[in-house]
């Protein structure tokens, strides 16, 4: 093996210094202990427990009996599950697209604003600074047919004659929740993009302008590539968070009307509330392959820089 001869063998002293029982290593393990304990008891163990439970028929009160992949099989044929999965895809796709467009657009606006930029940045941060549960209760109010601002406004300007139950009708429910989620989440994107835009060296723009590039070209060829790593990271962090969304749906529609807005976390929660523990565990775990594929995809694109 060629590599073996190229790397010199460690001297005995070096082995002692870097070995597992060396002072540095022991210190390292000691410092890692608290975090790793948390990770073991509240991440690794629950995860294995969940995988095991998903392979059983556990409900409240009975003992779990191993049933192999039956839970997964019955989920795949369960129309409620496939609806929830489809809703999750629709929800996450539109929400993330909206956050990206709105976040980037506002970042560009703020980037060009030279006066009181800090003030405007603080204003833009408001939806993200407020607790999620407050944001979604407020939107539940705004969409309400009796006292909500949206209906009052639309009727006052004569666009509609009678109130629309935005969260109570199948056609409107999902778009309404998507819009509220975008409102709540875009500031994270805007702030991160703004900071990234401000880090792009100004000389690049000046040189391009001298060469005759117009605003669009400068944006496409300097700004976008310049903030590409930040776009990818924000995209990854935000999407993992959004796939996870529970309160966005639960507080506004509780999955309704007639399960029209049920996404996977809500589906799993309803299963747990019905004490279908084995099956809910399987449903929750179905998030894993998707999240993993997505994360690996993003990390690969990042490495290409």
């Amino acid at each position: 093996m060629a590599t073996k001869s190229l790397v010199p063998a460690k001297s005995k002293a070096a082995k002692k210094r870097d070995g597992i029982f060396a002072p540095t290593s022991l210190f390292g393990y000691f410092m890692m202990l608290p975090a790793m304990s948390v990770l073991f008891f509240f991440f690794a163990y629950p995860l294995s427990f969940e995988v095991w439970t998903s392979l059983t028929d556990k409900t409240l009160g009975n003992d779990a009996k191993f049933i192999g992949l039956d839970n997964y099989a019955s989920l795949l044929t369960d129309p409620d599950f496939t609806t929830a999965a489809r809703n999750s895809v629709v929800y996450v796709t539109f929400v993330q697209a909206g956050k990206f467009i709105l976040g980037l657009g506002i970042a560009i606006l703020l980037h060009q604003k030279l006066v009181a930029r800090g003030f405007w940045r603080a204003v833009v941060l408001v939806p993200y600074a407020m607790p999620g549960f407050v944001a979604f209760m407020v939107w539940k109010l705004i969409y309400n047919p009796d006292v909500g601002a949206l209906n009052i406004f639309l009727m006052q300007i004569g666009l509609i004659d009678s109130p629309i139950a935005f969260l109570g009708q199948r056609t409107w429910a999902m778009p309404s929740v998507i819009f509220a989620t975008i409102w709540r989440g875009f500031p994270f994107w805007a702030i991160m993009f703004l900071a990234a835009l401000q880090a792009v060296p100004k000389e690049l723009y000046e040189a391009a302008a001298v060469d005759g590039a117009n605003a669009w070209h400068r944006f496409k060829n300097i700004s976008l590539p310049g903030i590409r790593p930040v776009i990818l990271i924000v995209f990854m962090l935000s999407t993992i968070n959004t796939i996870n969304s529970f309160e966005a749906i639960w507080l506004t529609t509780a999955g309704g009307p007639s399960d029209a807005t049920v996404i996977l976390p809500v589906f799993a929660y309803k299963g747990l509330a019905a004490f279908q523990i084995g099956e809910s565990a399987a449903a929750a775990l179905s998030l894993v392959p998707v999240a993993m594929i997505f994360t690996i995809f993003i990390l690969n694109r990042l490495k290409k820089d």
Partner: protein
Amino acid sequence: MLVIVAIFVLFPVYYMITLSLRSQSSLWSKATLLPVDSNLDNYRAAFANTDFKRALLNSVIVCGTATAIAVLFSVMAAYSLTILKFKGRDTLGRIIIIAFLTPGALLFIPLAVIMANIGLSNSLQGLILVYLSFMVPLGTYLLIGFFRSLPAELEEAARIDGASRMQALWMVLLPLVAPGLVSVAIITFTGAYNELLYSLVINISPEMRTVPVAILNLSVADEVPWGRTMAFSSIAALPVMALYFAGQRFVVEGLQTGSVKG
């Protein structure tokens, strides 16, 4: 243009406040976007409501304690993963990142069952432990970025000058990553304070509820007392929003440093 953005961003807050100042009968009789019939009854009701005050206390205790623990654990872990060298370091680092990227909706079921099994269900201590499960990976991830942004030779230089590793950490490195500590404290505290799912599933009785669950429970069978809910929500939002705006600089810097250099 920015004025349109401001309206888009601030209108819901405006509406929340105007409605929090109106009674239920006012809401039913007058449909308007303007602030009318303003009074502080809903806020008085909030301060008189023992369940709500209890929930506020619970949230502060749980989130404050969890944040203190999480910052400590995260500093220790991030320091080890960036400054120290030991066997298995990279593997442990990867495990932390995987835990960080794991959505909470994945683990709420086993965590609820485990908490019930060890008798910590429906308790503040149990909720603190459960919150640590996402706060520690998050904090560690952010602090790794901060530690990595320090000059590489700094720690060695301190030790050559005679400091022990703990002294080097405490007297040289920590002061330099102090903005990172503030940022982690704010981000993890608000993450825990805003958290709904774990709290809903694990702390069930009214005395053990946290603020998000208390506000959810103001509504009974699809009937939402809007004025009251908005008043309670405004009060609930204050601590977190104050933190965010006071620490805005830290939060933005923390997210950037953690994400781009981490």
